[in-house]
Symmetry: C2
């Protein structure tokens, strides 16, 4: 066996468990419930899933796959396409599995990312037959050290009957020490989570495990699938400018200082682009407490704007992968990778008072937000952590361009066609048109702010017409709606391709 | 001055602030922002609001009224009817103010009850001109001791420019010592809330205050408006039986013991009736960690079923008021009254792992819940604490009768007309028909459980017809809906009085 492999397996009697991906995959039975590492394409197992996909092409093999969040192509494309997935949770973000979800071939449980660990702990998800976990190393102290994400791996490792480790040599063992693994006890028996600042380390450098459960160690040498972030454009820059101006007004009001508050930023191009906007701002010594670190965070670290970043996953472009993972020691004292149960924990989020910035698919005139369902029926990605952060942050901000499909669709509608964040939870909406600060306002006070500040000019009058008719129809009720027309914009879009009347 | 009064004012130089309700009310200007004590008709100021109502009848006087939750008739009927309220938050439950809310005469901000204190602390609600707080006593140590609720009084007292105390002699000073006042620091500067068990006391016996801010002390001698709970009936008994059976199955699955977990129960007759169902059950040594203690909790304490109850408000019938407040010493070691920011805090709720039982107005086939808006537009009461508890509990249960209006309306609909709790948050739905356990299920897995177990027989086929058409229309998408018909049941009900096709 290669010395590089042996060096990464600190417990000598586990060296005999090294085997091929095919041999490891052979342990997994049809119908198995499998917990996998991986969060937004980072730190996912890569070679065992490919071996499972080969089997699924040739025999009846359908498994339930629970993860941290979305995975790379090995699972959410290849295994899914091979018919190997019966059920998937709690998040996906790939067009292949998305299509299977929206044709009923894969069952998908779209869940708050802080909730899954509790469901595993209670046995609602499970019993978990196998955990398949990508690792940087197994240390002699008995820790399984993750790679570029932590996600739900600790809870899977704790509750799975069997564990398969993918030892990924592509990552420097300098990653050891970056993670901070803390797993709460059962509800009712637990203590406060002792994080008082995003920089606090409260746990272990890796995941404790029962070595008797290790069925296989498979060696791999693959980088994560790079993130698919689209570059910022003029309109995302406009959105960033509006957001920065809003934050400046919060400083003026005495509610924030120039250091702001710990920032959370959602997954995807828009949230990333908005975060990039901080680079040329006057804000400084910023701290991130988020789920996923995308390119913008590392660019802000390099620019000296961000001094520390806590997350559960690092999902970056190919160019940044080389830069960051090639020089991980330059970053390792500025980063902590935590379990998603901790990065997304309401207790910690509310205590720290985050500024949460998440992307909306669409919002409505009362401030409800749809994060998940295109046209109210087809799943896009999932709610992810946006609910965990939005409900508990100091400032809960949603960003979206005011229009989609080249202007045929408005992102602000009379009533969202699926509700992920209710009127009670959304503080601020930002589009390239402007900002609506909804805090402390009654529904009817929100309407003019949203329409006048955030809606594309092409749809303003149409929304006023809807609202005014609804006010008349309901006698100016708490939340005026004309239920016959509330979803008509979506119905029109499905029939004619446009929401324009 | 009466000795009884002087005895209750432990700081001698405040005795000179005693004055009539009319004199105190005269301080308050038109346009003032006022924070009042009171939570679900308990512990609210009673005589100063009546004096304000008198003024509002004779002069231009409109104020913004923020409270813990709903108040008794002095504010939510008489002051409201006199035109004295411009804006109201964060909860109401009275037909008089409800009607003014639904005709646009009063602006109403329906909010999560754990959120208000943060908004006051940040200055989003405010600046608060006056806090009007009902108290049992002012102690010589400088505490303002509330009466039968704590609600948002601590944050109002801290942030108000001026304070008016209503010293209510109707309550025994044995109430002193029942409260536990703990107020978190600003987000970002705070420590964990050190509650590890519902019985933990972590704060002071009363609210600290700046005595220079006391503008008036008004003496009153009024009991709270009694709760308007309707007695349990056969169907609420059926719901209770289904719930108890579900909890038994959780014990069998090893997820609970005979002591269950700390129970939260929502406000209103249905939740109270369901809780009454525990009286003749085998469960024992039960502990309550809730917002409001209604009659059922005291009946369960008397029956030896409940050993301890933590809350922010005691709202009970006239008969129980006599029994409990006449013998408060019999109960005072079994009860804690906390600020609503603590009783409803996500940190504490998730740590303790509550079983949350809240009432729904309606639910839909995917598990979304409407708690607030009749027909999607008219406010009933408000979301209250249901969102705080539902999102963070070990078990989030919603109870509703399967039908309303004598069977003309189904409480389970294709799509709820207002979303307060999304499909991501609702674990279990209970009607008099049965139980749907939705945990860990994809939307399409939830549908047959909800329709077959919870829907009234009169509406089952109609819901299946809707769903099957939606599946065909969307090609079996993640969440099949026919948006042209999704709200048609509500439209029909508004036009014809029935949801039956």
């Amino acid at each position: 066996m290669e010395e590089a492999v042996v060096k990464r397996i600190g417990i000598s009697n586990l060296v005999s468990k090294v085997m091929s991906a095919e041999e490891a995959a052979a342990f997994i039975q049809n119908g198995a419930i499998v917990g996998m590492s991986g969060f937004t394409r980072a730190g996912d197992a890569k070679v065992v899933p490919l071996a499972l996909a080969e089997r699924a092409k040739n025999e009846k093999l359908k498994i339930d796959v629970y993860t941290g969040a979305s995975l790379g192509p090995e699972v959410d494309q290849i295994l899914a396409q091979a018919g190997g997935i019966r059920k998937r949770g709690p998040y996906q973000g790939d067009s292949v599995i998305r299509n299977l979800v929206n044709t009923g071939e894969v069952l998908y449980v779209d869940a708050h990312l802080s909730h899954n660990a509790e469901l595993v702990r209670q046995g609602i998800i499970g019993p978990i037959d196998f955990a398949i976990i990508e690792a940087t190393a197994i240390t002699s102290e008995g820790y399984l050290v993750p790679t570029t994400s932590v996600g739900n791996s600790p809870i899977f490792v704790e509750h799975a009957k069997n564990i398969i480790v993918e030892l990924n040599l592509a990552h420097s063992d300098s990653l050891v020490g970056v993670h901070d693994i803390y797993v709460p006890q059962m509800q009712g028996d637990r203590k406060p989570i002792p994080i008082l600042s995003p920089t606090d380390r409260i746990g272990d450098i890796g995941i404790k495990f029962d070595s008797d459960k290790i069925k296989a160690i498979v060696i791999s040498n693959e980088q994560d699938a790079p993130s698919l972030i689209v570059e910022p454009d003029d309109e995302t820059q406009e959105m960033a400018n509006h957001l920065l101006d809003f934050l400046r007004s919060e400083i003026k009001a005495g509610r924030l200082t120039n250091k702001l508050a710990p920032l959370q930023s959602g997954v995807g191009s828009v949230a990333n682009a908005v975060l990039e906007g901080f680079k040329d701002s006057e804000f400084e010594d910023l701290v991130i407490f988020s789920e996923v670190l995308q390119d913008a965070v590392f660019n802000l670290i390099d620019a000296g704007k961000v001094s520390f970043a806590s997350c559960t996953s690092i999902t970056i472009s190919e160019e940044l992968q080389k830069k960051v993972y090639g020089n991980i020691k330059n970053y390792s004292d500025k980063i902590i990778l935590r379990p998603q149960e901790i990065s997304n924990h309401p207790e910690v989020i509310r205590r720290l008072g985050l500024i949460a910035i998440n992307a909306a698919l669409e919002a409505d005139i009362y401030g409800n937000v749809n994060s998940t369902h295109v046209g109210g029926t087809k799943m896009m990605n999932g709610i992810g952590g946006s609910g965990d952060f939005t409900r508990n942050s100091r400032l809960s901000i949603f960003v979206t361009k005011s229009y989609a499909k080249g202007g045929k669709l408005s992102s602000i509608v009379p009533m969202v066609a699926h509700h992920d964040h209710t009127e009670h939870d959304v503080h601020v909406i930002v589009t390239e048109q402007g900002v609506a600060d909804l805090r402390g306002l009654a529904p009817k006070e929100r309407v003019p702010l949203i329409i006048e500040n955030c809606v594309h000019p092409d749809f303003k009058q149409q929304l006023w017409d809807y609202y005014n008719e609804a006010v008349a129809l309901t006698g100016n009720a708490q939340t005026p709606h004309n239920l016959e027309k509330a979803l008509s914009w979506h119905v029109n879009a499905a029939k004619t391709g446009t929401m324009k009347l």
